[in-house]
Symmetry: C2
Subunit: 506 residues, 2 copies
């Protein structure tokens, strides 16, 4: 085994990945758990990241003609019940509002009072309540398509939660569209998946596999669920976004009808698509290292931190002035259409200061001591390289090249993640090898320690179920990429025409 | 009475103000009621306005050092109970979650199941849950101040609701800060009220009176509530934002303590401050006329709509091309740091099209017919003037002067609203005149039909209560402006040193 290096995060990824994740979240000061079961508090550094995700993704939505709106938090139980598969899918995880006030209880303290005639469900997703509006808005083919998105909180009561990845309340966006034809709706479903894939790859530097879910993994009530899947550094899959083709299922249950051009009454075709604060967990697990988070520059809350250093009191004023002036100059520089965000950390707490920013994952750090100042330069470090790898850079050069440096970091994160996924993905045609791939636990041989298996599947749910029971491995998606080829099902040996992605998953 | 002019909204403001309001909301397509009691659906035109409000206000917050974060939707009942006045204030309007799943009921259908050990309250405001985080975050005076804001939905179960003005669920921002001293906390309370006042006046073009609430109107649990109050066109007051100095009340109930510079354990001093989607209702009622909404340009979702007009098919192509090119050119123009937002309405539905945009309140409309095109000009109308007041403007002039025209509209809306408030505000020193001012219902004499009364008040809650009972008139605020002066209470005749603002209110 390699000699252990001191790291900022304990345990390391190889020692205990789930624990490493919790410690990274904590050390980066992005979020904390709350006294409310399964709910998180998103702290400023984490929320600023979410704001950047929102801003970038929202602009991508709007470019495709989508408009934002807002629908009620509560869904009457009878609405949820309209679509049978849908309510079945969410019944086990619903927060239910049953009363609308509090009154003094018989034993002191307050108790729920004012029982509602009909229970209200805190939205786990909004197809049924938005469907009700769509039914009112749409009467003619001229009203179509309707292209709506909402940024909102949703609640799915989870028994086992993990910050950002699976929480009872989370923040997300949910898009909902209605169309005159099946073709148009399906093509919108694909279009939004492509938006998600581009966002994941270009902004989060997270390579994803685009594909379709098997029947058992479909969204409750959907005809087809498309998804993007990413590989985390424990080689498990994370579903990072889904786009659902709902056919006419929800249009029928909500009564979304329109008069067609040839004056027939028809049901609309609808879609829905969502991504959530889970993306933040995915970003952490894709790029983070044993020193903490690594933020891709395109969505980092800040791009560079300046760390003024002085030992003698007489140096302080000059170094601070120089640093603040540089911060001002840097914030005039543009990076992908927005101003460079600069942090200046003037705390006098020694080396812990630099490590705080390493753990938070800020892309670039620059120390400025009296000598640097005299040479009109800074001592720069990139977060994607070793914390010890620093170099002197002239001030003018920093101002001129910072955007290019950030782009380089962005690209290197993506390349690293893609290489990691490719190293840990393999076609497997032999059942024994398949089982070994997912059960090997030998830390010295990470290359046989699981990952993504590209294997043939006959399409039978029974085979899927057996593999899930035996190995906790599921079909992450039937990928769009990859030609059809003759093969045999990894489970039952029957003929198959397509490899699918098998993996353990979050 | 003046001859009735045909208006786009029925009834008019003078005929039936509450009904006028509902019709304006509907006609502008900003929102609609939902099947969930008291909850609204905010439609794209209304939500885009909210997004602009958020963007502008958020930037103002951030300039003062505030950072955004996100806290749980649910508050355990025991947390709400920690501050006695606070829970008392909200107990009657709480949505209570009591179960976490649904199961098949004895009579078919689904019923709530999985009873929670402790009921959860859907946040009506977040002092108690945020206080819990503050208690964890703060241990030394070096951690202070903590300056946090969250954009969120909240629920206050209202029996009588009205879109935007009073809804069971609404969107808002709530700021929460903690400080080492009472002085610093109070000065932050004042600072944020000033942010609200500036926002209301500069962006919403809504003049406001800054002041302090009387004891009976204070936020439950606060030491002091500051507020801004605006006059609507029915001469009622609308509270448009509040900023609360919470003293050490919530710090004590949540255990927010810190070690001071001289190493003593002390309770922090906290503040909270909020504004909501209610601002949209206020904007509508401040500026709207009998033809619909009038949007102040600084927060309008779009600034100008281009309406291509053609009668003969051979004109169509040229006019559309000219219009689209102009839209492109206009969107290159900058207005207060953002690009001019242009709508192009190519629907071929005749005159209804222009009226749609009048009802929506877009600041400027420009018609472009073949003749205009040949003269390289447009036929322009301002929403703040009569719908019939249009003038030809050369294309170059429009491009050069549109920002100035928008500023003129913004200013004229503010001036008009301020003049209206001043016309309908008067010092009243005589009890009989005071009662007459608030009871007169003669439509032909609007000058005696109520408004704001600046009258002396002795400070006794009994006088306040009597006036409220007799007239449904409350003390809107004890204004910051206005010198102390000797006077006698409008109710009991005892000595008073200050006039306060009396009005009917939303």
């Amino acid at each position: 085994m390699a000699k252990k290096v001191q790291t900022a995060i304990t345990p390391t990824r190889t020692d205990d990945y789930p624990q490493w994740y919790q410690q990274v979240v904590k050390a980066s000061d992005m979020a904390e758990s709350s006294p409310v079961r399964g709910c998180m508090v998103i702290k400023p550094w984490g929320y600023a990241l979410w704001e950047n995700i929102q801003k970038s993704m929202d602009a991508m939505f709007k470019k495709t003609g989508v408009k934002n709106a807002y629908f009620p938090l509560f869904i009457p139980l009878s609405f949820l019940e309209k679509e049978a598969e849908h309510v079945e899918g969410f019944a086990k995880e619903c927060a239910v509002v049953t009363h609308h006030r509090l009154e003094a209880g018989p034993e002191g303290g307050l108790v729920p009072a004012g029982k509602l005639a009909e229970p209200l469900i805190v939205r786990p997703t909004s197809e049924t309540i938005i469907g009700d509006s769509f039914a009112k808005w749409i009467s003619s083919y001229r009203d179509l398509p309707v292209l709506i998105n909402q940024w909102a909180n949703v609640v799915r009561w989870e028994m086992r939660t993990r910050t950002f990845l699976r929480t009872s309340e989370f923040l997300w966006q949910e898009g909902h569209t209605a169309h005159a034809t099946s073709e148009e709706a399906f093509s919108r479903t694909e279009q939004m998946l492509e938006v998600y894939a581009n966002f994941a790859e270009e902004y989060l530097a997270m390579p994803v596999i685009r594909g379709r879910k098997s029947d058992s993994e479909r969204f409750p009530g959907a005809v087809d669920t498309l998804c993007i899947e990413a590989m985390m550094q424990d080689r498990k899959a994370l579903q990072a976004g889904t786009s659902h083709f709902l056919g006419q299922n929800f249009a029928k249950s909500s009564g979304i009808t329109f008069q067609s051009a040839d004056e027939k009454e028809e049901h609309a075709w609808t879609t829905s698509w969502g991504t959530s604060t889970r993306l933040i967990g995915g970003m952490i697990m894709t790029h983070g290292d044993d020193d903490g988070v690594i933020m891709p520059p395109r969505i980092a809350p800040a791009h560079i931190v300046l760390l003024p250093i002085f030992r003698k009191p007489e140096e302080k004023e000059a170094v601070l002035a120089y640093t603040r002036k540089l911060a001002e100059e840097l914030s005039q520089v543009t990076y992908h259409g927005r101003a460079i965000e600069v942090e200046v950390d003037e705390r006098e707490i020694g080396g812990a200061r630099g490590w705080d920013w390493i753990k938070k994952g800020i892309p670039v750090r620059a120390e400025i001591g009296p000598r640097d100042m005299n040479e009109d330069s800074v001592f720069m470090a990139r977060r994607d390289l070793s914390p010890r790898e620093k170099r002197g850079v002239k001030r003018e050069e920093l101002l001129a090249t910072l955007p290019a440096i950030l782009d380089e970091i962005q690209q290197s994160l993506f390349d690293r993640a893609l290489a990691y996924r490719e190293e840990n993905t393999r076609p497997i045609d032999d059942k024994e090898a398949f089982y070994a791939w997912f059960t090997a636990e030998n830390e010295d041989k990470p290359e046989i320690h699981g990952g993504f298996a590209l294997s043939h599947w006959c399409g039978d749910g029974a085979c899927e179920e057996k593999i899930k029971t035996d190995l906790k491995v599921t079909i992450r998606c039937i990928p769009f990429e990859g030609e059809e080829e003759e093969g045999t099902c990894i489970c039952c040996g029957k003929p198959s025409k397509k490899r699918v992605v098998f993996a353990k998953a979050y």
